[in-house]
Subunit: 227 residues, 4 copies
């Protein structure tokens, strides 16, 4: 069975797509001693932001957890906002890299989508709390702005999302070209698929078997729920 053949494996640095091994590097992987405090702060920030959200997370709480002085935070990060952004960037970069790798393989479009959905589910499940916070802040898109983030920063995040969803869209287009997907508005479909993934994660509807959930989502998108 093709489906079962996809015994892929995912961790922070390597991902197997069948026999194809995709390796990706992480920024700041090597923590020199001088980067010690920086890492402590990032880890503490991850915890506090995840728990409290951006606005209600206080720098005081972060430094208490990081066991560092307040000034140290500002030696490494220009402000609270950029500290949060660093957290997001460092985590999403390898994720975006994998998605991009998958999109570039020669796999059939349906298999690509299935693989990508799985990566999405896995990544958002792993980082649910922090991404929930991020999306919370990004809801202000287009409105006069009720986010805690600056306009420029928001735009950066939005662009990351657009790029990521764009990867899905390209594969859908590929499917149409190859005749395995019917003519449709690929932008809408990509956003639709993305929204379902996010909803499954945030509503805790992803089972322990991520692959099964990915297959189900993909299946509904391809074949519908109709009999």
């Amino acid at each position: 069975m093709i489906d079962s053949a996809w015994a892929s494996f995912y961790n922070d640095n390597v991902m197997y797509l069948g026999e194809v091994m995709i390796i990706y590097s992480r920024e700041n992987e090597i923590s020199t001693d001088s980067q010690n405090k920086r890492q402590q702060i990032l880890e503490a920030a991850y915890v506090v932001f995840s728990r409290k959200g951006f606005h209600r997370a206080t720098v005081d709480e972060i430094i208490a957890l990081a066991d560092t002085g307040k000034g140290t935070v500002y030696n490494y990060f220009v402000n609270k906002e950029q500290l949060f952004y660093t957290l997001i960037k460092e985590r999403s970069t390898p994720f975006e890299q994998i998605l991009s790798e998958i999109a570039k393989t020669g796999l059939p479009p349906l298999d690509k989508i299935r693989a990508m959905v799985k990566v999405f589910l896995q990544f958002y499940s792993d980082n649910a709390d922090l991404w929930r916070v991020l999306m919370h802040e990004l809801r202000g898109l287009g409105s006069e702005g009720y986010s805690s983030f600056s306009e420029e920063q928001q735009e950066k995040y939005q662009q990351r999302f657009r790029d990521t969803i764009g990867l899905l869209q390209v594969v859908f287009q590929e499917g149409i070209t190859q005749g395995v997907i019917r003519e449709c508005d690929t932008n809408r479909v990509a956003y639709g698929l993305f929204s379902v993934i996010v909803m499954m994660v945030f509503q805790h509807l992803v089972g322990d078997d991520v692959e099964a959930t990915a297959n189900e989502i993909t299946s509904v998108f391809f074949y519908g729920v109709g009999q």
Copy 2:
């Protein structure tokens, strides 16, 4: 054509589903003189909350627009949070009523779903700004809480959403029973459909012809994008 037969019409108080007219009442519809101030406040609050979000909307701005005193707000509403809730409740009640009415009709499940999707799209499009704000605040679900809302209040909102999505789920179940929809996790599917609707609205992917968009969404859900 059955589809084209669905020339439904929607306004604040009446909705036509083909020939069936569904009438629903609104709370506080009759503004006695003494309810005058209350209405002015609600209307001003709608504008300010929609524009600024919950956190950044100030009571000062609301009373300036409502042309009333600050104390008056607290005569009618226990606090800013409950003022917001009242706004949501008054607007969603008729909407939920219509959905409920549709669910109760004897229409085939697929037609029900299609009609419901259309009502969803129409309602969220009409109230996009305020509901964006609401959903912004509800992202905190489950976490220690980074919402501006109290736990209790959040639960109330969540319950409304669950009930509404539950209506979709029931119809999916109906479809399975009637053999027009294949076996699936109706809860997941209902949430999936809901998430797509919301995403389309908030990403401005709903065209001028709401019915067409509703049909497209429904179509993908039933028949998939596969060839």
Copy 3:
């Protein structure tokens, strides 16, 4: 003797120039009950600013002395800077009015200057502490700005000083026209006279007899220290 004829009297509201009585009004003179807190804050601010300077004066200290809440300060004044400005404005307005009145009288230029110098000495002696603070902040004139004040606010203050010194200049010009003062750069002379007045006050070189000091300063300016 003309000099001794100048038995002028100065208090907050009335000034006698020989037989001529000059009356001037003060803003906010009538403290209604509702202006009570405002006055308390202004009085406390006067004390704290005089004692600590602008930068080192804290709002906390002001409210402690005014026996009021922090928010109340911000109900009456947009910020600390504008609170300070209000203090200066309310005090300098009557002072500037008197100077202006003197400049408009038909007195001989030398007598005008003498009278004005006296008013200057009296006013700056009465308000030495606060004006020392003001001038402290204004020293940044022209430089990239090391004042605590905003550019706009600084310009307002500077303009007040320029206008005031301008009154002296006009009288000097008058004296030249009338042939009692020799041709000279009236701008420089006016600034020179002003600087001497300020220096006398801030170095505590003004004796108890303000009139005598005024006469001495005027005398040196008119006749020099030469034998």
Copy 4:
């Protein structure tokens, strides 16, 4: 003409008063290699303090300009305050020496004053920015202290000013004794003259021809503006 005979010349190390050449030494003039960093820091500090004032000048900015490490600053100077003081002291010492030399010459008092006024004007014009900053900080004299300087440090500066102005006072007294200046409060007159000099410099009222301005100031002080 005696006046025109005073073709004095002023630079950092030598000053000519007519035929009399006054030479003065500078501290730390010889920069050994080990004094290299110290000089770099002083020069950078001069620039930054002049531009930003004492409070807004940061050690970070100074070390960036001096191309040195932060700790190095504290190897040579106990703190920011003493760094500033060193700057002032090194620059004012030769200036005070010249004034002192002039005061000691056998010139007539009026000529001495005229020469001293010129030196004052020249020196403060050359160092306007830094001295503006110094005087900015010294305004706190006598008050609880709103200066960035410590009480002790302020007293040191004040003493320098007092000593310098004292030189003027001595010459005035000399003039009185010699009968060329009328009886007057020499302390007040010296401070008055000093204040005029400073005001002229800071208000940019000193023309290109410093000597002419010096003559004009002296002239007004001796003969008055009266006709």
